[in-house]
Protein backbone atom coordinates (compact mmCIF):
# COMPACT_ATOMS: atom_id res chain seq x y z
CA UNK A 1 0.00 0.00 0.00
CA UNK A 2 1.41 3.35 -0.93
CA UNK A 3 0.20 6.77 0.08
CA UNK A 4 1.45 8.21 -3.19
CA UNK A 5 0.38 7.56 -6.73
CA UNK A 6 3.79 6.26 -7.70
CA UNK A 7 4.79 2.91 -9.03
CA UNK A 8 8.08 2.86 -7.16
CA UNK A 9 9.21 3.14 -3.55
CA UNK A 10 9.61 6.60 -2.05
CA UNK A 11 10.24 7.78 1.55
CA UNK A 12 6.51 8.33 1.91
CA UNK A 13 5.57 4.87 0.70
CA UNK A 14 3.83 2.82 3.41
CA UNK A 15 3.65 -0.97 3.56
CA UNK A 16 1.30 -3.19 5.51
CA UNK A 17 4.15 -5.66 5.94
CA UNK A 18 6.42 -4.81 8.87
CA UNK A 19 9.33 -6.52 7.17
CA UNK A 20 8.94 -4.43 4.04
CA UNK A 21 8.79 -1.31 6.19
CA UNK A 22 12.02 -2.34 7.91
CA UNK A 23 13.63 -3.13 4.55
CA UNK A 24 12.72 0.30 3.27
CA UNK A 25 14.31 1.88 6.33
CA UNK A 26 17.50 -0.12 5.69
CA UNK A 27 17.53 0.95 2.04
CA UNK A 28 17.33 4.57 3.15
CA UNK A 29 20.78 4.06 4.65
CA UNK A 30 22.25 2.94 1.32
CA UNK A 31 23.81 5.92 -0.44
CA UNK A 32 24.04 6.29 -4.18
CA UNK A 33 27.80 5.95 -4.93
CA UNK A 34 27.81 8.72 -7.53
CA UNK A 35 26.16 11.20 -5.19
CA UNK A 36 28.82 10.43 -2.59
CA UNK A 37 31.27 12.23 -4.84
CA UNK A 38 29.25 15.42 -4.37
CA UNK A 39 28.73 17.48 -1.26
CA UNK A 40 25.21 16.13 -0.94
CA UNK A 41 24.97 12.34 -0.85
CA UNK A 42 21.52 10.93 -1.62
CA UNK A 43 20.15 7.57 -0.54
CA UNK A 44 18.71 5.19 -3.11
CA UNK A 45 15.12 5.60 -1.91
CA UNK A 46 15.22 9.40 -2.13
CA UNK A 47 16.80 9.04 -5.55
CA UNK A 48 13.95 6.86 -6.77
CA UNK A 49 16.10 3.84 -7.59
CA UNK A 50 13.99 1.35 -5.63
CA UNK A 51 11.33 0.10 -7.99
CA UNK A 52 9.81 -2.52 -5.69
CA UNK A 53 10.34 -4.55 -2.52
CA UNK A 54 9.10 -8.14 -2.38
CA UNK A 55 8.88 -10.28 0.75
CA UNK A 56 8.39 -14.05 0.74
CA UNK A 57 7.68 -14.99 4.34
CA UNK A 58 7.72 -18.72 3.61
CA UNK A 59 11.38 -18.64 2.58
CA UNK A 60 12.45 -15.47 4.37
CA UNK A 61 13.57 -13.95 1.06
CA UNK A 62 13.58 -10.23 0.35
CA UNK A 63 13.86 -9.17 -3.28
CA UNK A 64 14.76 -5.57 -4.05
CA UNK A 65 14.19 -4.32 -7.60
CA UNK A 66 16.36 -1.40 -8.66
CA UNK A 67 15.94 0.91 -11.63
CA UNK A 68 19.35 2.50 -12.03
CA UNK A 69 19.98 5.97 -13.41
CA UNK A 70 21.90 4.30 -16.20
CA UNK A 71 21.77 0.72 -17.39
CA UNK A 72 25.52 1.03 -17.73
CA UNK A 73 26.00 1.93 -14.05
CA UNK A 74 29.31 0.41 -13.06
CA UNK A 75 28.46 0.64 -9.37
CA UNK A 76 25.57 -1.83 -9.37
CA UNK A 77 27.70 -4.46 -7.65
CA UNK A 78 28.63 -2.02 -4.87
CA UNK A 79 25.00 -1.08 -4.32
CA UNK A 80 24.04 -4.77 -4.42
CA UNK A 81 26.63 -5.66 -1.76
CA UNK A 82 25.52 -2.92 0.59
CA UNK A 83 21.83 -3.77 0.24
CA UNK A 84 22.51 -7.44 0.96
CA UNK A 85 24.58 -6.53 3.98
CA UNK A 86 22.13 -4.07 5.50
CA UNK A 87 18.89 -5.89 4.73
CA UNK A 88 20.43 -9.27 5.57
CA UNK A 89 20.92 -8.08 9.14
CA UNK A 90 17.16 -8.03 9.74
CA UNK A 91 16.17 -10.92 12.03
CA UNK A 92 13.41 -12.39 9.86
CA UNK A 93 15.40 -12.23 6.64
CA UNK A 94 17.37 -15.28 5.55
CA UNK A 95 18.13 -14.28 1.97
CA UNK A 96 18.36 -11.05 -0.02
CA UNK A 97 18.21 -10.75 -3.77
CA UNK A 98 18.79 -7.57 -5.75
CA UNK A 99 17.46 -7.38 -9.29
CA UNK A 100 18.17 -4.68 -11.82
CA UNK A 101 15.06 -3.60 -13.72
CA UNK A 102 15.79 -4.06 -17.41
CA UNK A 103 12.27 -3.70 -18.75
CA UNK A 104 13.23 -0.66 -20.75
CA UNK A 105 11.79 1.73 -18.20
CA UNK A 106 13.97 4.82 -17.86
CA UNK A 107 15.03 6.59 -14.69
CA UNK A 108 14.41 10.33 -14.81
CA UNK A 109 14.70 12.99 -12.14
CA UNK A 110 10.92 12.84 -11.77
CA UNK A 111 11.39 9.63 -9.79
CA UNK A 112 13.26 11.43 -7.00
CA UNK A 113 11.50 12.21 -3.75
CA UNK A 114 9.93 15.63 -4.10
CA UNK A 115 11.79 17.07 -1.09
CA UNK A 116 15.11 15.85 -2.40
CA UNK A 117 14.39 17.13 -5.88
CA UNK A 118 13.42 20.54 -4.56
CA UNK A 119 16.47 20.74 -2.29
CA UNK A 120 18.75 19.79 -5.16
CA UNK A 121 17.25 22.45 -7.41
CA UNK A 122 17.53 25.07 -4.70
CA UNK A 123 21.22 24.29 -4.23
CA UNK A 124 21.76 24.62 -7.97
CA UNK A 125 19.87 27.91 -8.19
CA UNK A 126 21.73 29.26 -5.17
CA UNK A 127 25.02 28.43 -6.84
CA UNK A 128 23.88 30.08 -10.07
CA UNK A 129 22.79 33.18 -8.18
CA UNK A 130 26.05 33.38 -6.23
CA UNK A 131 27.97 33.20 -9.50
CA UNK A 132 25.87 36.05 -10.90
CA UNK A 133 24.78 34.02 -13.92
CA UNK A 134 21.78 35.18 -15.93
CA UNK A 135 20.09 32.41 -17.90
CA UNK A 136 20.66 32.65 -21.65
CA UNK A 137 16.90 32.52 -22.11
CA UNK A 138 16.52 35.73 -20.10
CA UNK A 139 19.52 37.41 -21.69
CA UNK A 140 18.17 36.97 -25.19
CA UNK A 141 14.81 38.50 -24.39
Amino acid sequence: MSTEATDHVLPTTEFQSEVKTEVKARLEAVLDPCSCMSDNPVNIVDLGLVDDIEWDDSSGTVTVHLLLTSQRCTYFLDIDDEICERVGELPDVSDVEVHQVTSGEIWTADRMAEDERRARRERFERRIEEAGITPYADRSE
Partner: protein
Protein backbone atom coordinates in the same frame (compact mmCIF):
# COMPACT_ATOMS: atom_id res chain seq x y z
CA UNK B 1 23.00 17.09 -45.60
CA UNK B 2 19.66 18.13 -44.18
CA UNK B 3 16.66 18.32 -46.45
CA UNK B 4 16.93 22.11 -46.44
CA UNK B 5 20.53 22.00 -47.71
CA UNK B 6 22.28 22.73 -44.41
CA UNK B 7 25.30 20.67 -43.43
CA UNK B 8 25.37 17.91 -40.86
CA UNK B 9 28.66 17.91 -38.99
CA UNK B 10 29.63 15.09 -36.69
CA UNK B 11 31.93 16.15 -33.86
CA UNK B 12 32.98 12.60 -32.92
CA UNK B 13 33.45 9.47 -34.97
CA UNK B 14 35.62 6.49 -34.14
CA UNK B 15 36.78 3.40 -35.96
CA UNK B 16 36.62 0.86 -33.14
CA UNK B 17 38.55 -2.37 -32.93
CA UNK B 18 36.37 -4.87 -31.06
CA UNK B 19 38.30 -7.91 -32.25
CA UNK B 20 39.26 -10.42 -29.57
CA UNK B 21 42.91 -10.29 -30.55
CA UNK B 22 42.98 -6.59 -29.70
CA UNK B 23 42.34 -7.28 -26.01
CA UNK B 24 45.17 -6.51 -23.62
CA UNK B 25 43.33 -6.67 -20.28
CA UNK B 26 40.45 -8.71 -18.83
CA UNK B 27 38.29 -5.59 -18.76
CA UNK B 28 38.55 -5.21 -22.53
CA UNK B 29 35.71 -7.65 -23.09
CA UNK B 30 33.60 -5.60 -20.69
CA UNK B 31 34.31 -2.48 -22.73
CA UNK B 32 33.24 -4.27 -25.90
CA UNK B 33 30.07 -5.68 -24.38
CA UNK B 34 29.05 -2.44 -22.71
CA UNK B 35 29.58 -0.56 -25.96
CA UNK B 36 27.38 -3.08 -27.77
CA UNK B 37 24.72 -2.85 -25.06
CA UNK B 38 24.81 0.92 -25.30
CA UNK B 39 23.75 0.64 -28.93
CA UNK B 40 21.00 -1.81 -28.02
CA UNK B 41 19.66 0.60 -25.42
CA UNK B 42 19.97 3.84 -27.34
CA UNK B 43 18.90 2.93 -30.86
CA UNK B 44 15.70 1.73 -32.51
CA UNK B 45 15.84 -2.02 -33.18
CA UNK B 46 16.39 -1.67 -36.91
CA UNK B 47 19.64 0.23 -36.26
CA UNK B 48 21.14 -2.19 -33.72
CA UNK B 49 24.14 -3.92 -35.23
CA UNK B 50 24.18 -7.58 -36.11
CA UNK B 51 26.79 -8.99 -33.70
CA UNK B 52 28.99 -10.15 -36.56
CA UNK B 53 29.15 -6.55 -37.75
CA UNK B 54 29.99 -5.18 -34.33
CA UNK B 55 32.54 -7.58 -32.84
CA UNK B 56 35.34 -6.99 -35.29
CA UNK B 57 38.02 -4.55 -36.30
CA UNK B 58 36.11 -1.79 -38.09
CA UNK B 59 37.89 -0.38 -41.11
CA UNK B 60 38.26 3.23 -42.32
CA UNK B 61 36.48 2.52 -45.61
CA UNK B 62 33.54 1.10 -43.65
CA UNK B 63 33.32 4.12 -41.38
CA UNK B 64 33.37 6.55 -44.30
CA UNK B 65 30.54 4.69 -46.03
CA UNK B 66 28.59 4.53 -42.77
CA UNK B 67 28.95 8.28 -42.30
CA UNK B 68 28.48 9.50 -45.83
CA UNK B 69 26.12 6.96 -47.39
CA UNK B 70 24.11 5.56 -44.49
CA UNK B 71 23.60 8.93 -42.81
CA UNK B 72 23.21 12.58 -43.69
CA UNK B 73 26.62 13.49 -42.25
CA UNK B 74 28.70 15.69 -44.53
CA UNK B 75 31.74 16.23 -42.35
CA UNK B 76 33.07 14.28 -39.39
CA UNK B 77 35.83 14.69 -36.83
CA UNK B 78 37.61 11.47 -35.96
CA UNK B 79 38.72 11.01 -32.36
CA UNK B 80 41.40 8.44 -31.69
CA UNK B 81 41.33 6.95 -28.19
CA UNK B 82 44.18 6.41 -25.76
CA UNK B 83 42.92 3.23 -24.13
CA UNK B 84 46.10 1.26 -24.66
CA UNK B 85 45.88 0.00 -21.10
CA UNK B 86 43.03 -2.21 -22.27
CA UNK B 87 43.49 -2.56 -26.03
CA UNK B 88 46.61 -3.07 -28.10
CA UNK B 89 45.75 -0.29 -30.52
CA UNK B 90 44.16 2.03 -27.97
CA UNK B 91 40.67 0.85 -29.11
CA UNK B 92 40.41 3.56 -31.80
CA UNK B 93 43.74 3.94 -33.49
CA UNK B 94 45.35 7.13 -34.67
CA UNK B 95 46.45 5.49 -37.90
CA UNK B 96 42.92 4.83 -39.07
CA UNK B 97 41.96 8.45 -38.37
CA UNK B 98 44.81 9.89 -40.38
CA UNK B 99 44.08 7.45 -43.18
CA UNK B 100 40.46 8.59 -43.21
CA UNK B 101 41.46 12.23 -43.30
CA UNK B 102 43.97 11.61 -46.07
CA UNK B 103 41.26 9.89 -48.09
CA UNK B 104 38.69 12.60 -47.36
CA UNK B 105 40.48 15.89 -46.73
CA UNK B 106 37.35 17.95 -47.32
CA UNK B 107 35.14 15.79 -45.14
CA UNK B 108 37.19 14.62 -42.17
CA UNK B 109 38.92 16.37 -39.28
CA UNK B 110 41.20 14.73 -36.73
CA UNK B 111 41.46 15.03 -32.98
CA UNK B 112 44.37 12.99 -31.69
CA UNK B 113 44.53 11.24 -28.33
CA UNK B 114 47.29 12.24 -25.95
CA UNK B 115 48.28 10.36 -22.80
CA UNK B 116 49.76 12.96 -20.42
CA UNK B 117 51.52 10.19 -18.50
CA UNK B 118 53.81 9.45 -21.41
CA UNK B 119 57.23 11.08 -21.11
CA UNK B 120 56.97 12.77 -24.49
CA UNK B 121 53.32 13.86 -24.22
CA UNK B 122 54.16 17.54 -24.72
CA UNK B 123 56.36 16.73 -27.69
CA UNK B 124 53.53 14.66 -29.14
CA UNK B 125 51.18 17.64 -28.94
CA UNK B 126 53.73 19.73 -30.81
CA UNK B 127 54.31 17.04 -33.42
CA UNK B 128 50.64 16.47 -34.14
CA UNK B 129 49.89 20.18 -34.23
CA UNK B 130 52.79 21.19 -36.46
CA UNK B 131 53.35 18.11 -38.60
CA UNK B 132 49.90 16.58 -38.79
CA UNK B 133 47.72 19.69 -38.52
CA UNK B 134 45.24 18.12 -36.09
CA UNK B 135 42.08 19.95 -35.05
CA UNK B 136 42.58 19.25 -31.37
CA UNK B 137 43.62 16.77 -28.73
CA UNK B 138 41.59 14.14 -26.90
CA UNK B 139 42.14 13.39 -23.23
CA UNK B 140 40.68 10.87 -20.82
CA UNK B 141 40.09 11.70 -17.15
CA UNK B 142 41.56 8.48 -15.88
CA UNK B 143 44.11 5.85 -16.85
CA UNK B 144 44.48 2.28 -15.74
CA UNK B 145 48.13 1.40 -15.40
CA UNK B 146 49.97 -1.26 -13.49
CA UNK B 147 46.79 -2.41 -11.78
CA UNK B 148 45.74 1.03 -10.57
CA UNK B 149 43.23 3.65 -11.64
CA UNK B 150 45.08 6.94 -11.98
CA UNK B 151 43.45 10.35 -11.99
CA UNK B 152 44.17 12.65 -14.92
CA UNK B 153 42.10 15.74 -14.22
CA UNK B 154 42.65 18.88 -16.28
CA UNK B 155 43.72 20.85 -13.20
CA UNK B 156 46.46 18.42 -12.22
CA UNK B 157 50.18 19.02 -12.64
CA UNK B 158 50.55 16.02 -14.96
CA UNK B 159 48.07 17.43 -17.47
CA UNK B 160 48.88 21.12 -17.24
CA UNK B 161 52.00 21.05 -19.50
CA UNK B 162 49.93 19.37 -22.21
CA UNK B 163 47.30 22.10 -22.02
CA UNK B 164 49.97 24.80 -21.95
CA UNK B 165 51.52 23.42 -25.13
CA UNK B 166 48.09 23.10 -26.76
CA UNK B 167 47.37 26.72 -25.88
CA UNK B 168 50.78 27.91 -27.13
CA UNK B 169 50.18 26.21 -30.46
CA UNK B 170 46.61 27.50 -30.73
CA UNK B 171 45.44 23.94 -31.18
CA UNK B 172 41.81 24.87 -30.82
CA UNK B 173 39.87 22.10 -29.17
CA UNK B 174 40.50 19.91 -26.18
CA UNK B 175 38.06 17.00 -26.12
CA UNK B 176 37.67 15.46 -22.71
CA UNK B 177 35.71 12.28 -21.96
CA UNK B 178 33.36 12.83 -19.03
CA UNK B 179 30.05 11.70 -17.54
CA UNK B 180 30.17 7.98 -18.41
CA UNK B 181 32.32 6.09 -15.91
CA UNK B 182 34.21 3.08 -17.21
CA UNK B 183 35.65 -0.09 -15.78
CA UNK B 184 36.88 0.39 -12.20
CA UNK B 185 37.65 4.12 -12.31
CA UNK B 186 36.09 6.13 -9.46
CA UNK B 187 33.16 8.21 -10.58
CA UNK B 188 34.65 11.43 -9.21
CA UNK B 189 37.02 11.43 -12.20
CA UNK B 190 34.01 11.94 -14.48
CA UNK B 191 32.73 15.10 -12.86
CA UNK B 192 33.29 18.41 -14.59
CA UNK B 193 34.85 20.59 -11.89
CA UNK B 194 38.34 20.32 -13.38
CA UNK B 195 37.06 21.49 -16.77
CA UNK B 196 35.87 24.74 -15.20
CA UNK B 197 39.31 25.40 -13.76
CA UNK B 198 41.00 24.61 -17.06
CA UNK B 199 38.54 26.74 -19.02
CA UNK B 200 39.35 29.68 -16.79
CA UNK B 201 43.11 29.10 -16.93
CA UNK B 202 43.20 28.62 -20.72
CA UNK B 203 40.70 30.99 -22.33
CA UNK B 204 42.39 30.46 -25.71
CA UNK B 205 41.35 26.78 -25.72
CA UNK B 206 37.86 25.42 -26.29
CA UNK B 207 36.86 22.48 -24.15
CA UNK B 208 34.42 19.99 -25.63
CA UNK B 209 33.08 17.91 -22.78
CA UNK B 210 32.13 14.61 -24.35
CA UNK B 211 28.84 12.90 -23.43
CA UNK B 212 27.46 16.14 -21.95
CA UNK B 213 23.91 15.73 -20.75
CA UNK B 214 24.33 12.05 -19.93
CA UNK B 215 24.85 12.72 -16.22
CA UNK B 216 25.91 15.58 -13.91
CA UNK B 217 23.56 17.79 -15.91
CA UNK B 218 23.34 20.73 -13.51
CA UNK B 219 27.12 20.83 -13.10
CA UNK B 220 27.44 20.84 -16.88
CA UNK B 221 25.08 23.71 -17.54
CA UNK B 222 26.71 25.65 -14.72
CA UNK B 223 30.09 25.24 -16.42
CA UNK B 224 28.63 26.18 -19.81
CA UNK B 225 26.87 29.21 -18.41
CA UNK B 226 30.02 30.32 -16.57
CA UNK B 227 32.60 29.82 -19.32
CA UNK B 228 32.18 30.71 -22.99
CA UNK B 229 34.85 28.19 -23.99
CA UNK B 230 33.02 25.15 -22.59
CA UNK B 231 31.08 23.23 -25.23
CA UNK B 232 28.62 20.38 -24.76
CA UNK B 233 29.55 17.55 -27.08
CA UNK B 234 26.44 15.38 -27.01
CA UNK B 235 27.96 12.09 -28.16
CA UNK B 236 25.62 9.29 -26.97
CA UNK B 237 23.29 11.89 -25.40
CA UNK B 238 22.17 12.69 -28.96
CA UNK B 239 20.85 9.14 -29.30
CA UNK B 240 18.67 9.60 -26.24
CA UNK B 241 16.54 11.76 -28.53
CA UNK B 242 15.33 8.58 -30.21
CA UNK B 243 15.25 6.21 -27.24
CA UNK B 244 14.81 8.37 -24.13
CA UNK B 245 13.12 11.51 -25.45
CA UNK B 246 12.07 12.79 -22.04
CA UNK B 247 15.58 12.54 -20.65
CA UNK B 248 16.98 14.12 -23.80
CA UNK B 249 14.42 16.92 -23.55
CA UNK B 250 15.50 17.72 -20.02
CA UNK B 251 19.21 17.68 -20.94
CA UNK B 252 18.72 19.85 -24.01
CA UNK B 253 16.23 22.09 -22.23
CA UNK B 254 18.63 22.85 -19.38
CA UNK B 255 21.46 23.58 -21.80
CA UNK B 256 19.32 25.86 -23.96
CA UNK B 257 17.82 27.68 -20.98
CA UNK B 258 21.10 28.40 -19.20
CA UNK B 259 23.70 28.51 -21.97
CA UNK B 260 21.83 28.89 -25.26
CA UNK B 261 22.06 26.99 -28.56
CA UNK B 262 25.53 28.07 -29.72
CA UNK B 263 27.73 25.68 -27.75
CA UNK B 264 26.02 22.34 -28.24
CA UNK B 265 27.60 20.07 -30.84
CA UNK B 266 26.17 16.88 -32.29
CA UNK B 267 28.23 13.71 -32.38
CA UNK B 268 27.39 10.39 -33.97
CA UNK B 269 29.71 8.23 -31.90
CA UNK B 270 30.01 5.95 -34.93
CA UNK B 271 31.06 3.18 -35.21
CA UNK B 272 29.72 2.45 -31.71
CA UNK B 273 26.33 3.81 -32.79
CA UNK B 274 24.58 4.40 -36.09
CA UNK B 275 24.43 8.14 -36.83
CA UNK B 276 21.10 8.42 -38.62
CA UNK B 277 18.49 7.73 -35.90
CA UNK B 278 19.94 10.51 -33.75
CA UNK B 279 20.00 12.96 -36.67
CA UNK B 280 16.38 12.14 -37.49
CA UNK B 281 15.31 12.40 -33.86
CA UNK B 282 16.99 15.76 -33.27
CA UNK B 283 15.70 17.20 -36.53
CA UNK B 284 12.15 16.15 -35.63
CA UNK B 285 12.47 16.98 -31.92
CA UNK B 286 9.98 19.28 -30.21
CA UNK B 287 10.28 20.36 -26.60
CA UNK B 288 7.33 18.81 -24.72
CA UNK B 289 4.75 21.35 -23.69
CA UNK B 290 4.87 20.36 -20.00
CA UNK B 291 8.61 21.07 -19.88
CA UNK B 292 8.18 24.38 -21.67
CA UNK B 293 5.48 25.44 -19.27
CA UNK B 294 6.87 23.88 -16.11
CA UNK B 295 10.60 24.48 -16.54
CA UNK B 296 10.66 27.48 -18.88
CA UNK B 297 12.61 25.46 -21.43
CA UNK B 298 12.60 27.27 -24.78
CA UNK B 299 11.10 25.98 -27.97
CA UNK B 300 13.75 24.29 -30.10
CA UNK B 301 13.74 26.18 -33.37
CA UNK B 302 14.91 24.98 -36.76
CA UNK B 303 17.79 27.44 -36.44
CA UNK B 304 18.77 25.83 -33.11
CA UNK B 305 18.74 22.39 -34.72
CA UNK B 306 20.89 23.57 -37.63
CA UNK B 307 23.40 24.96 -35.15
CA UNK B 308 23.49 21.78 -33.08
CA UNK B 309 23.68 19.47 -36.08
CA UNK B 310 26.41 21.36 -37.87
CA UNK B 311 26.95 25.09 -37.69
CA UNK B 312 28.29 25.17 -34.15
CA UNK B 313 31.03 22.66 -34.82
CA UNK B 314 32.04 24.38 -38.05
CA UNK B 315 32.27 27.71 -36.23
CA UNK B 316 34.36 26.06 -33.54
CA UNK B 317 36.71 24.77 -36.25
CA UNK B 318 36.83 28.12 -38.02
CA UNK B 319 35.21 26.72 -41.14
CA UNK B 320 32.83 28.56 -43.44
CA UNK B 321 29.76 26.39 -44.15
CA UNK B 322 29.44 27.69 -47.70
CA UNK B 323 33.07 26.84 -48.43
CA UNK B 324 32.60 23.31 -47.04
CA UNK B 325 29.54 22.90 -49.28
CA UNK B 326 31.60 23.99 -52.30
CA UNK B 327 34.47 21.68 -51.35
CA UNK B 328 32.32 18.56 -51.16
CA UNK B 329 30.02 19.28 -54.08
CA UNK B 330 30.57 16.72 -56.79
CA UNK B 331 33.11 14.66 -54.85
CA UNK B 332 32.91 10.86 -54.92
CA UNK B 333 30.51 10.75 -51.96
CA UNK B 334 28.28 13.41 -53.40
CA UNK B 335 28.13 11.45 -56.65
CA UNK B 336 27.17 8.23 -54.83
CA UNK B 337 24.59 10.13 -52.78
CA UNK B 338 23.02 11.53 -55.93
CA UNK B 339 22.85 8.00 -57.36
CA UNK B 340 21.14 6.75 -54.21
CA UNK B 341 18.74 9.67 -54.23
CA UNK B 342 17.70 8.87 -57.76
CA UNK B 343 16.54 5.45 -56.61
CA UNK B 344 15.11 6.75 -53.34
CA UNK B 345 17.67 4.84 -51.30
CA UNK B 346 19.45 7.65 -49.48
CA UNK B 347 20.41 7.28 -46.68
CA UNK B 348 21.29 3.65 -47.36
CA UNK B 349 19.80 1.06 -44.98
CA UNK B 350 21.53 0.55 -41.61
CA UNK B 351 24.85 -1.33 -41.82
CA UNK B 352 24.13 -2.12 -45.49
CA UNK B 353 27.44 -0.70 -46.70
CA UNK B 354 29.64 -2.84 -44.49
CA UNK B 355 32.27 -4.90 -46.19
CA UNK B 356 31.54 -8.47 -45.33
CA UNK B 357 28.34 -10.08 -46.46
CA UNK B 358 27.25 -12.18 -43.53
CA UNK B 359 24.60 -14.72 -42.78
CA UNK B 360 21.27 -12.96 -42.54
CA UNK B 361 22.60 -9.83 -44.19
CA UNK B 362 20.34 -8.07 -46.62
CA UNK B 363 21.09 -7.99 -50.31
CA UNK B 364 21.65 -4.29 -50.03
CA UNK B 365 24.77 -4.87 -47.98
CA UNK B 366 26.70 -6.14 -50.94
CA UNK B 367 25.12 -3.69 -53.29
CA UNK B 368 26.85 -0.54 -52.05
CA UNK B 369 30.31 -1.94 -51.48
Amino acid sequence: MLENGELVVDAVSHCFNHADDNHLHPHAQRWDDETYELGEQLMPEEYVFPEEIFYRNHQPEELERLLFLESQIDYSVYHSLPLDDYFKDGYVSREKGFELRDRNPNRMGMIVDINPLEDDAVEQVEYYAKKKDVDGIKLYPSRYQNGRDLSLQLNEDTVRPVLEKAADLDIGTVGIHKFIPFATAPVKYFRIDDVEEAALAFPELNFEVIHAGFSFLEETVFAMASHDNVYANIENTAHMACSRPKKFARSLGEMLYWAGPDRIVFSSGATALHPQPAIDAIWNFEMPEDLRAGEDYPEVTQEDKEKILGKNKLRLMGKDPEQVKKDIKGDKWDQKIQELKETGEYPAPPWSTYEEPTEGASKERVKYV
